[in-house]
């Protein structure tokens, strides 16, 4: 019998992490993400894992990176100001190629902003928040079931590509409760980082395999290697050589870009004959779905496209859609972030309508219905 629960999004996200094999969490309390760390504090010790409440969010991500280097699947999570604080060390995990999952339960900003209210204003921060070039992987769940499943996926991608992966939840999804069917262990894929097979003296820590990802030893495994946030060569040692710098800088982007289509995730509804398409994600997509289902009853040819991976953005799919529809409407709880990616993919082939809500509320289905009717 499958286990059925009635969970909050934050709990489902944490339980998904545990199911993916996460055994370390470093965090610092902040609304609306705190329940993730509270769940971890309860669950991890039961499995012999470790939870540590650090002195700030920087400490939380630092400890998580350290634990990952010592071999544990690791995670941190936060919201708003806490996510801003984590940016420098996110960059560290990108350049040092350390698997890590970071949950961001989005709230209103800038600064302390709206601690208890929903927002989707961290979409661009997720991509560009830390300095320097890197490839971003970020998934946005829109249901409690998906909080669980997408976090498993986030861990799989983090382990496979040896880099941070973000779960971009939001206050509504994080705090909402609904039914979840817990997948049986063994019924879903769990990926673990590649380990080196050479003997310790032959180990070249950043020498990549054909997939551009180097196998990773854990501290204590018998391998001795150097980890640094400086741009380094295959030996992990800092370099100022243009060719070595180029090799590293391009590889850490290419290792993800090459497999873009395996990372991208999206979900469509009523798209076959759609002339109008709503593109929305996270909590907003729930209102959008309600709106299009209502309007379908009135024979309005409207469909829904939901990017689950916000990064990489499903641009190919949007480009295809733009060839056959008249209007794409992009409602977001920000001043217009993902819509820029939509416009880029559409490249003028159909009309793109920006809809933005910045008042801390969620779009209601009738508001979205009104947007559709404006163009129908």
């Amino acid at each position: 019998m499958a286990q059925v629960e009635f969970w909050q999004g934050n709990k489902a996200l944490a339980m998904g992490a545990v199911a993916a094999g996460c055994r370390f969490f470093g965090g610092y309390p902040i609304t609306p993400s705190t329940e993730i760390m509270e769940t971890m504090a309860e669950e991890l010790p039961r499995l012999g894992g470790k939870f540590v409440q650090m002195e700030d969010e920087i400490g939380g991500i630092a400890a998580a990176i350290g634990a990952s280097i010592a071999g544990l699947k690791s995670m941190t999570g936060s919201s708003g100001p806490g996510i801003s604080l984590k940016q420098e060390l996110l960059g560290y995990a990108y350049i040092a190629e350390i698997p890590l999952v970071v949950a961001n339960v989005m709230r209103g900003g800038p600064s302390t902003g709206l601690p208890t209210k929903v927002s989707q204003a961290d979409v661009m921060q997720a991509k560009w928040g830390t300095h320097g070039d890197h490839a971003t992987i970020a998934y946005a769940p829109s249901s409690i079931q998906e909080c669980y499943e997408i976090t498993v996926r986030a861990f799989n991608m983090a382990e496979r590509f040896r880099q941070p992966v973000l779960v971009l939840s939001d206050e509504i999804i994080g705090h909402m409760r609904e039914k979840i069917v817990i997948p049986e262990p063994g019924t879903f894929e769990v990926i673990n980082r590649k380990k080196p097979t050479v003997c310790p003296d032959d180990f070249v820590p950043y020498k990549a395999d054909d997939d551009d990802v180097p196998p990773m030893a854990a501290f204590g495994d018998g391998y001795r290697w150097h980890v640094t946030g400086l741009t380094s060569n295959d030996f992990g040692f800092p370099t100022n050589e243009a060719n070595e710098i180029d090799k590293k800088a391009t590889r850490i982007i290419r290792k993800v870009e090459r497999f873009r289509e395996e990372i991208v995730e999206f979900k469509e509804e009523s798209m076959e004959d759609a002339e109008i398409v709503i593109v929305s994600y996270g909590s907003v997509s729930r209102s959008s779905l309600r709106a299009i289902r209502e309007l379908r009853k009135q024979n309005v040819k409207v469909g829904h496209f939901r990017p689950i991976s916000l990064w990489p953005f499903p641009e190919k799919q949007i480009a295809e859609i733009s060839k056959r529809v008249k209007h794409i409407i992009v409602p977001e709880l920000n001043a217009g972030q993902m819509v820029n990616e939509v416009e880029r993919a559409v490249a003028g082939r159909c009309e793109v309508h920006r809809k933005n809500l910045l008042n801390g509320e969620l779009y209601k289905p009738d508001e979205i219905m009104a947007f559709i009717k404006e163009v129908a």
């Binding site: 370390f24 470093g26 309860e42 010790p45 039961r46 012999g48 470790k50 540590v52 650090m54 002195e55 700030d56 920087i58 400490g59 630092a62 400890a63 998580a64 990176i65 350290g66 634990a67 990952s68 280097i69 010592a70 071999g71 544990l72 690791s74 420098e88 060390l89 560290y92 310790p200 854990a218 501290f219 204590g220 495994d221 018998g222 391998y223 001795r224 290697w225 150097h226 980890v227 640094t228 946030g229 400086l230 030996f235 040692f237 800092p238």
Partner: protein, 275 residues
């Protein structure tokens, strides 16, 4: 010349090192290597972590599990390493700026947790790497590139800070006492089983600090440290006035029955699994 067992701990292929010839930091690295060699800890079980700064470049030259982190954050990284693998021996090195300015919060909380890490603060009273800006240990009246008219900020006493924050082993020596550095380090490394050990090793930066403060040659600094060091036992008999400008060296805290954080965490695991 280093001993054979010490040489085996070096990554000579990553050399030459970046330190200025005569920098005090090299004496500390040598003392750390002698301590590890004497304690016969297998190098694949040793983690040397650090932040950012001249001092923090040390791990790159040591053939162990080495972790060069971000400015100020090394102890937080090391906390994760220690929790994930309590069997490793972790020596975390940092500069005075790295450890007590940007990393001050992680420093006091690592002390408070009493997590089994040996934290070595390589105190050269200046930001060496970035070109001689004032640090939290730049003496009042000394000159720095950001204190061109003399520093007015009072300084931290790193050992008192560590003691107040709960470190269970605290000691200080200067690079003018290399044997004492090594002996203290050995004790501090063994103390990891009991908790957090802080070793302040007073170093010098003749290039950035010395240049502006009439100690531009390495020997000027070495002699200064030698002449101004006072053993704790003697210092205990001296007045505050007599101790002005002196560096008190020795062991300040050594709590033998301290309870280390990861061992306490094992109790959490036991309680969680029983519940």
């Amino acid at each position: 010349m280093p001993r054979e067992d010490v040489k085996k701990l070096l990554r000579t292929k990553f050399m030459p090192h970046i330190w200025c010839p005569g920098c005090g930091h090299g004496i500390i690295m040598h003392a750390i290597l002698r301590a590890i060699a004497d304690l016969k800890i297998p190098k694949e079980q040793v983690c040397i972590s650090s932040g950012i700064g001249c001092s923090s470049r040390m791990p790159g030259y040591i053939d162990a599990c080495t972790l060069h982190t971000a400015h100020g954050r090394s102890l937080a990284f090391a906390t994760g390493v220690r929790l994930a693998n309590p069997d490793l021996t972790i020596v975390n090195v940092m500069g005075d700026g790295d450890g007590t300015a940007i990393g001050g919060n992680h420093f006091i909380h690592a002390c408070r947790r009493n997590i089994g890490i040996t934290a070595v603060v390589m105190n050269n009273n200046i930001y060496g790497m970035t070109g001689g800006q004032a640090s939290p240990t730049t003496p009042e009246g000394a000159f720095a590139s950001t204190a061109p008219y003399g520093a007015i900020d009072p300084t931290f006493d790193i050992c008192k800070l560590a003691e107040g924050a709960g470190a269970t082993f605290v000691a200080r020596a200067t690079v003018a006492q290399p044997v004492m550095c090594e002996q203290i380090l050995k004790k501090a490394i063994l103390h990891q089983k009991k908790g957090f050990a802080v070793v302040e090793l007073v170093s010098y930066c003749h290039t950035q600090f010395g240049r502006k403060n009439k100690r531009s040659r390495p020997m000027d600094n070495f002699n200064y440290l030698k002449d101004n060091s006072v053993m704790k036992a003697k210092a205990d008999t001296m007045t505050a006035e007599e101790l002005k400008g002196k560096i008190v060296i020795g062991e300040f805290v050594n709590i033998e029955d301290a309870r280390e954080y990861t061992k306490r965490y094992d109790e959490v695991i036991a309680r969680a699994q029983k519940a």
